[in-house]
Symmetry: C2
Subunit: 531 residues, 2 copies
Amino acid sequence: MLLEARHPTGEMIIGAGAFHGTGPMIHAVNPATGENMDPGFAGATPSDVARACALAAEAFPTYRETSLEVRARFLESIADEILALGDALIERVMAESGLPRARLEGERGRTCGQLRLFAQVVRAGDFLDVRIDPAQPDRLPMARPDLRLRNIAIGPVAVFGVSNFPLAFSGAGGDTASALAAGCPVVVKAHSAHPGTSALVASAIRTAIEASGLPEGVFSMLFGTGGDVGAALVADPRIKAVGFTGSRGGGVALMQIAAARKEPIPVYAEMSSINPVLLFPGALAARGEEIGKSFAGALQLGAGQFCTNPGFVIAIDTPDVANFVKGACAAIDGGAAQTMLTPSIHAAYDRGVEALAGHEDVTTLVRGAQPTGPNQARTGLFEVKADSIGSEPGLLHEIFGATSLMTRVRDVDQLRDLLVDIEGQLTISIHMEESDHDAVATLLPVMEEKAGRILVNGFGTGVEVSHAMVHGGPFPATSDSRTTSVGTLAIRRFLRPVCYQDMPQSLLPEALRADNPLGLWRMSDGMMGRD
Amino acid sequence: MLLEARHPTGEMIIGAGAFHGTGPMIHAVNPATGENMDPGFAGATPSDVARACALAAEAFPTYRETSLEVRARFLESIADEILALGDALIERVMAESGLPRARLEGERGRTCGQLRLFAQVVRAGDFLDVRIDPAQPDRLPMARPDLRLRNIAIGPVAVFGVSNFPLAFSGAGGDTASALAAGCPVVVKAHSAHPGTSALVASAIRTAIEASGLPEGVFSMLFGTGGDVGAALVADPRIKAVGFTGSRGGGVALMQIAAARKEPIPVYAEMSSINPVLLFPGALAARGEEIGKSFAGALQLGAGQFCTNPGFVIAIDTPDVANFVKGACAAIDGGAAQTMLTPSIHAAYDRGVEALAGHEDVTTLVRGAQPTGPNQARTGLFEVKADSIGSEPGLLHEIFGATSLMTRVRDVDQLRDLLVDIEGQLTISIHMEESDHDAVATLLPVMEEKAGRILVNGFGTGVEVSHAMVHGGPFPATSDSRTTSVGTLAIRRFLRPVCYQDMPQSLLPEALRADNPLGLWRMSDGMMGRD
């Protein structure tokens, strides 16, 4: 990589070229100082969007048929190139996001680990989901043809950069990694909060593409303010799927654009979740104060700017609930205010907290310390009577940041009623002891219908990137509860099955040939095997 | 089963009860005679729809957690009960559909075979897609929690009866069987062309539910004319997915209703396909006339009323194309007209053929014999210049029935251009010899992007129900190219993953327990195994 690539120049990356846009100018804002950062990034025009999509479509047939080994090495090489950006990357992200170094070094590790994990997935080839039903020429009343199924990549994918994960869920983050792993070229719309970070990551991907000898259209990155560039990208007929993490309004808008296309396409939008935390009597009795303390830690982590932030606490009412409240309040009271990612996120947080605090049925349990600098947010813990929630569903809308609403329920039945009424969630956390098992067992079915992940004696923050992770859930947690955006199963979002009937061996894709040259796990006549 | 259940009474089945509706009355029409059949079936009211959905939602938690064995036996018992309806069923379908006995006995076999195949799938349990990432308490910088993933049923499913498969894709057909296999209760909106057939099948399912001791809401069947009952069903908040096979207009309307819900849900609509047949020079030289003859057979099978009917033929132009035309015309010329399924399907067919035949760029190659009775359709084979197609995409809209449009292309390049421009398809058929392999190889990538199934030296009609089948394809062939509506992979449409983190063994679903009590294939730390 050229040294100068370590300092963003304000250019977009469209295929092999770097271009200054001619659309409206974006400047990142350092949220800790409120100052604009250089350089400016001029937004993409409609013809820039079209060019990136055309290159992606051109690259698609070649890229989706790269050998598993080539594609795996490409993913690994992106990870290498990101590390090669060195501290210049970390410093740029710190300035653009206000996030501390340790968090961002960890996030870089996660981003690279994610790319390497997807490389393993590609090499293993299970994602091809190969199924073979051999011919039965003598079957009566009719011969059975030879049928062979594999997954192929769905086509070029539009990925939206994400404010709260400038590395792990943006340019080379989870959506991009899983789409590239599936064999899909990617066009990223960078998040306007961290254009410089995005440009650096894009340069790393560009270097990896060149080193891997792949077609230039495998990756492009566009800038743009407002919704225009994103809307044009999702509407482009060459785009075949969309990965998005962000607000409910933004996600729903993309879903509508995608549904209104001449050819509707899937949108994977991860949008909105308050991640209920359920406190059971046994746990409250055994360690109520400790749970309160760790809850406060999870709530305030990263200024609460996680999709899995615990925004709603439901305690089965006993005298021990006071211990939870005591622990939580002690850990929050007077704790320093934290800088949020962007001025607009900070403003939205303050508006949301103000509305909640001002609601007549809501009482304030504790607030964190007052801000001492720009874009800093005060933690908040509030309480509401359970009976008030039914008539005020707005109380349960996500407030992105370190604020949580608590309520007490009489018993398991009232808890069930509450859970039945809430919207879909990414996570539900259960705090329990063995004495709570019976109560939890009766509620688990409702939790399963409401969330993608159910966790015990912990909090949803800290999403593991692994095979069994589900970072998804019923609407509005995501637009498509059948999928996950974190973990290896995320690759399935960008695949579709194709069946080959009576195709001569020499024309079959390698994955489907009789001698199994790739050594894949395959289903043959319904039985898994690896012959 | 009670003897009287073998004769439909005009009642809907809502849970355990049979009710006369109070909506508009439906009479099946015997298409061969044009006469109304008794009894009448009064349509469902909005409150009937709501009741069926409420019962389905009530049944869901119990039904989705039935043991794999209980669920498998239930599916087998539906098959047994359908067979127990005996000849009364076959005679009713013959009268309502105009289809011949042999076809319907075959279709009944397919329907029962499909239910038994899904029973095997349920017993094998692979559809649960179990993944386990064991805890790594000593991992640095952070311990890894124990993560376990399984699929659960998505919720109650609305299934629409299908005109052209009164058994295999209606009451107990592919959508119902795969949804029930996944653990989803089903509410069927019966097709108004065969209400008596539907009622008989529903009574068989009802008997199986009672014999299996399952909750009544596992299955209901509603009648209704027009779109009202179907629209209310798809809009009901308790419905979580939709299975539909039918017209493009109907499918798109359901997609829009589902997308406009407060909680959007997936719609699996199989809608529209002209199933291109590609004729390569080697094949035309070796056996052009024979291919023409078998093409005519596939075209006219069941009066052409298959989603996979070969509606578009593209021949690479050589003198041998004449042999194909000769074979096809000889087999069609003077062949008897066939009764179509319903007066409205027949009317739409006649309108479509008339428009095609009257188009200034279209020439008629051959027509079948004139009708001799009501609702009979004449086969048609037409030709158009390839250059005319680009400016007239309407020429490539599906005409449901035994009509096909043929065109000749100069070479492989023009063939590729044509394929690139066509919409998504269920199938593409290739007729080739070894001398054509190179040409086919260069076109296969385009075919993969356009169709769910690519088949060699055959026709798409005759869809095998097996593990490797894909009956799907890019829009408008279906609304969701990631899925299939035929074959065992269809079960995946009705599942979503849930992750359990640090859940005690005693609270885990059996599928996820450490000792693997169900003996499932599971992925552990990324490796498949069965320990």
